[in-house]
């Protein structure tokens, strides 16, 4: 499936700035026309070029390597693969580039080509498959807290330690705990992308995907439930710990968490991905397509480290030597 502009016939895409479909060729707004492909999913619906190189096992949205048309693979967003929810992009490509430059522009040891226009323009918006789990939990915690008081009397210092039994029973219901269902995306990166602002969630519509890449879930929600449960356990423990205060030390005796999965939604969440290749390694950077949060670790150019390090050494030596002469005169 592709979206064509009714006015000019060009490939119309979703524009995050305008939050609507916008034709980049004639600036037409909401002039989309869905064109469902009758050909193989490995052929571009616009130009007929083969797309084997860009249609991988889980791809559902891609870009034709020949004509650049954004194509959505119908059967990979239908039936069991049809997402329940989608969080449309709110951060445009230009904004994502600007956020990357704000975050990493001042890193002195990054290679000079790291954020130049030629490199950073390769950034692509991708919809990442997530399962969102709802859990109801009940937890019980037992622990011991101590409070310490000290005072002096005569030649002696006294220390009084009071022991308290801490008991908590807590009900906590969690809504839409996200777990990425993509093997390609690193879990660490995806966890750091959180949180997304869920008020922007929409019922799934294909038009939001035009202009972006995407993949369907690689693993089932049952396979990924354990990651969600770990997140729930960690959050429950954090909430209980937050409720305990005023003690010098706290020792946990036991904690029991009972959790019940209520609901699971399959959702697509927006991520800008920039891959910078440097000396044979790929460095990945991600920008949350909704909140603009940036995640990534910059490469280090060793020639810059040497140049800048030697310059600092030289400057300090020069300034120190001149101050030495100055002090010899004034002292």
């Amino acid at each position: 499936m592709i979206f064509k502009c009714k006015n000019c016939g060009g490939n119309i895409v979703y524009n995050p700035d305008k939050a609507t479909m916008c034709c980049p060729h004639c600036d037409g707004l909401d002039t989309e026309e869905k064109l469902v492909s009758t050909e193989s999913i490995r052929t571009c619906a616009n130009c007929g070029a083969p797309m084997d190189s860009v249609v991988l096992e889980h791809t559902f949205a891609t870009k034709c390597p020949n004509c650049g048309t954004y194509t959505i693979l119908d059967e990979r967003v239908a039936d069991k693969y049809k997402p329940d929810l989608i969080l449309p992009f709110r951060v445009s490509k230009d904004k994502a580039i600007s956020l990357l430059r704000d975050e990493f522009g001042r890193r002195v040891f990054t290679p000079s080509t790291f954020l130049n226009n030629a490199s950073v323009s390769k950034i692509e918006g991708t919809y990442v498959p997530f399962f969102m789990y709802d859990y109801d939990t009940e937890s019980e915690y037992y622990g011991t807290g101590t409070k310490v008081r000290s005072w002096s009397s005569g030649d002696y210092e006294y220390t009084e330690t009071s022991y308290y039994d801490i008991h908590r029973v807590m009900d906590a219901d969690f809504d839409k705990i996200p777990v990425d269902a993509s093997d390609y995306m690193d879990d660490t990166y995806m966890d750091l992308m959180e949180p997304y602002a869920y008020e922007g969630l929409e019922d799934f519509e294909e038009k939001y995907m035009s202009g972006f890449l995407g993949e369907k879930y690689n693993r089932s929600e049952e396979e990924l439930a354990s990651r969600a449960e770990n997140k729930v356990a960690s959050a429950v423990e954090g909430l209980v710990n937050d409720s305990i205060s005023g003690y010098a030390t706290v020792t946990k005796k036991s904690m029991e968490i009972q959790s019940a999965k209520k609901n699971v939604d399959y959702a697509l969440l927006p991520v800008w991905e920039y891959i910078f290749r440097y000396r044979g390694n790929d460095y990945k950077f991600h920008v949350n397509g909704q909140t603009g949060k940036v995640v990534g670790k910059t490469p280090v150019a060793k020639d810059k480290v040497a140049l800048y390090g030697l310059t600092v050494f030289g400057l300090i030596t020069l300034i120190g030597s001149m101050l030495r002469l100055l002090l010899a005169v004034v002292m």
Partner: protein, 270 residues
């Protein structure tokens, strides 16, 4: 390279400004220092080493004299090393008076009577307390560079001497200390210290700028809570028991004192 110069623009300007101020000042001071000739007709300064106790050979006396001449020029100070074996001055206080009066009576001073002068007296005759006493008297501007405690500390080198030792080596060390501490254009710290500090700062700079983290965790325990909060059915903190321990407080005590005069200097007994 454009970003390099932009990045270092302010440090380059600071270094340039300091260089423009410090280098000419130093060169002018150095030229002034080199052009300041000795100007004291009352004391002809023909004697620098007076070895009345005959503790050094003629060659050693000549070598020490040459060394002290350099120290005099660097410190712009008249210097006399007065070595005696005089039982009449067998106490530290009499050695001090001898050193002070030698300076005063001979009108010592580099550029005028009363200018900078150092007189070191080492009396090899053991006094009533069985010890050998020495004194280094300082007069004039040199006192701002060699304090009384500096003089006392310098004389500690005499501890290396015994009755049978050749004292030339120790006197020579003392002369070097005087030159190092009393030099008029004395550097406040060594070039080695500058290089060390520059190296440490450069390494810290590299470490700080090399470090890079993936990103910050911005999810809290309550981020995905329905309605934004958890409900506690039980939330109790019950006192169980308490313990009291005691230990004895260790106490300590201490004290100190000090003094001053127009001649300065320091003494030593061995």
């Amino acid at each position: 390279m454009k970003s390099y110069f932009k990045y270092f623009a302010i440090p380059f300007i600071i270094a340039l400004v300091i260089t423009v101020i410090a280098l000419p000042m130093y060169l002018v001071a150095r030229a002034d220092f080199l052009n300041t000739a000795r100007n004291n007709s009352s004391w002809d300064n023909s004697v620098t080493v007076l070895d009345l106790a005959d503790k050094m050979s003629n060659e050693e006396e000549a070598a020490l004299t040459e060394q002290l001449r350099k120290a005099e020029a660097a410190c712009q100070t008249d210097i006399v090393f007065f070595i005696i074996d005089d039982p009449a001055n067998g106490y530290l206080d009499s050695v001090r008076r001898l050193a002070d009066s030698f300076s005063e009576d001979n009108h010592m001073g580099y550029d005028y009577p009363g200018g900078s002068a150092i007189v070191f007296v080492d009396n090899w005759s053991r006094g009533g307390d069985g010890r050998i006493h020495s004194w280094m008297s300082t007069t004039g501007e040199i006192r701002s560079r060699i304090s009384d405690s500096d003089a006392t500390e310098m004389l500690n080198v005499l501890d290396e001497l015994s009755d049978d030792d050749d004292p030339y080596y120790v006197y020579s060390k003392l002369g070097k200390s005087v030159e190092k501490k009393g030099s008029k254009l004395r550097m406040p710290y060594s070039m080695g210290a500058v290089l060390f500090v520059a190296l440490v700062i450069a390494v810290i700079y590299i470490i700080i700028n090399w470090r890079s983290k993936l990103g910050d965790v911005t999810v809290t325990s309550g981020t995905y809570l329905e309605d934004g909060k958890a409900s506690f059915k039980v939330r109790t903190d019950t006192f169980n028991h308490k313990t009291v321990t005691k230990h004895k407080i260790e106490r300590s005590s201490g004290g100190g004192g000090g003094g001053g005069g127009s001649h300065g200097g320091g003494g030593h007994s061995r």
